[in-house]
Symmetry: C2
Subunit: 275 residues, 2 copies
């Protein structure tokens, strides 16, 4: 999916919601915990309940890898299932960051075997990490820039003599590594005021924005500082949506939450004359 | 395995060699490429040929993940096999870097399910990435500091007004996150002269040193600038050892290469009065 197609999907669904499938076995509804196929069953129900309101799904690989071989199998099945529902943008939240032939293997694993549209990568090792991913047409690298966790401060705000901070250096250095249909950035909603600094460096790129909801970020502020002429935002919600209820009605409650977010997003898209 | 035990193993084997199992299917000897169990068969032969000369193995996860479920299964089998050979230090080269409950899932995947001793992590997201790994006793985090690839320059040399470079900031910030039995650092042999700067910040920690051999680093120089009173080095060789021959005698040639490296390491350990 390219830049224009992603914007087209956002306009069609009047939403820029990304549903994070951080499906923690410990948090599954009770009746699914004992089900050997519980992880897939849970994710399938979440996808069914949210598909009309979301433009993207983002499985976080840790929750699948923790289960070993069966987790990996479960991941392959859920991705196939999501694809069967219709047009959608799938991000493997892997935060990989290797180089050369190793990185090429990751690119192959994610883009060929798993058939996702995008993969999150860590910038620490530089261009060598990203370059093998750029070989794939209309497939995206989502590079960590400014994350929403507390200890993002440890290194991301490290600054040089001109006052440039590491996350800004990452943006300016990498923005031309690939096209607008290949590079996207993680910028946390918990630092919405920093979105202005981010937009000065990369006005046109898409941003993947975690931290709305459970982590305290505001959708209104994210849109104010981060939205551009192609929306330019995928706002992720994981915990706030997934565990809306731990009872049998979990899927229904999740669907309601996703619908609420979609409606607020639709309002923001209208306000910005994008739909 | 703790800090003293790792040093004990080095003294016992008179070696600080880590064999990187970057087992690229495309590079396997011809007769194994068509074998459905080729990856495991290849790794098993490499382990058998090198076990007497190595203190550590480092499977790089990308090569297994690229094969999907079957690759993951192959990884589990090779780790079980290595363990069955005797005392050894196993590093999962995963370069993960997530946070909170996600990072906890990775720690669980690697330390409980896969039963490795150490995992490589990227520092970009700060302490939150490492903290769940520190919950495990005598299990190690190997944090990327200064890597051996060309584009390490992109961000790792980014420096503040005092001239501190990002990799130095990573070392000084993180060195007290865990004990000497929990924290180790990747410092590439291609930048041996930087080992002096590294040792000023972390004189006692173990370093995992890639880049000797195929990438051009010198074992002699690594020892000169990096060795400490507990050796403090695990020097990795992957391509230089694994693909010593692509014919049927590949395991024999690999064993010879590993033996050569062990003998040079023994000489360096003796010179430094460590054995």
């Amino acid at each position: 999916m390219n830049y224009e197609q992603l914007f087209g999907l956002i306009k069609k669904k009047r939403s820029f919601l990304c549903v994070g499938l951080d499906s923690d076995l410990d948090k599954l509804p009770l009746h699914l915990k004992s089900d050997p196929d519980g992880l897939f069953t849970f994710n399938k129900a979440i996808v069914d309940a949210t598909f009309d309101y979301a433009v993207s799904y983002k499985p976080n690989l840790a929750f699948y890898e923790a289960l070993g071989t069966s987790g990996w199998e479960s991941l392959e099945r859920i991705i196939t299932y999501i694809r069967s529902k219709g047009e959608i943008f799938i991000i493997a939240d892997a935060k990989r960051g290797d180089i050369g032939n190793t990185s090429a293997r990751y690119a192959e694993a994610f883009f060929n075997r798993l058939d996702v549209d995008a993969v999150t990568l860590s910038p620490y090792m530089g261009y060598d990490t990203v370059s093998p991913f750029l070989e794939f047409k209309d497939k995206w690298t989502v590079l960590l820039a400014l994350t929403s966790n507390k200890s993002a401060n440890d290194f991301q705000y490290f600054q040089n003599v001109e006052g440039t901070r590491l996350f800004e250096k990452v943006l300016s250095e990498s923005k031309n590594w690939g096209s607008l249909s290949q590079m996207m950035y993680v910028v946390g909603a918990t630092r919405a005021e920093e979105l202005q600094a981010v937009r000065q460096i990369i006005p046109d790129h898409f941003l993947l924005v975690p931290g709305v909801g459970a982590q305290g970020g505001s959708l209104e502020e994210v849109a104010r500082y981060g939205m551009n002429s192609h929306c330019g935002l995928l706002v992720n919600s994981s915990r706030g949506i997934l565990y809306a209820s731990s009872a049998d009605d979990f899927a229904e409650k999740t669907g309601e939450k996703a619908k609420e977010m979609q409606q607020e997003m639709e309002r923001l898209l209208i306000e910005n004359n994008l739909v």
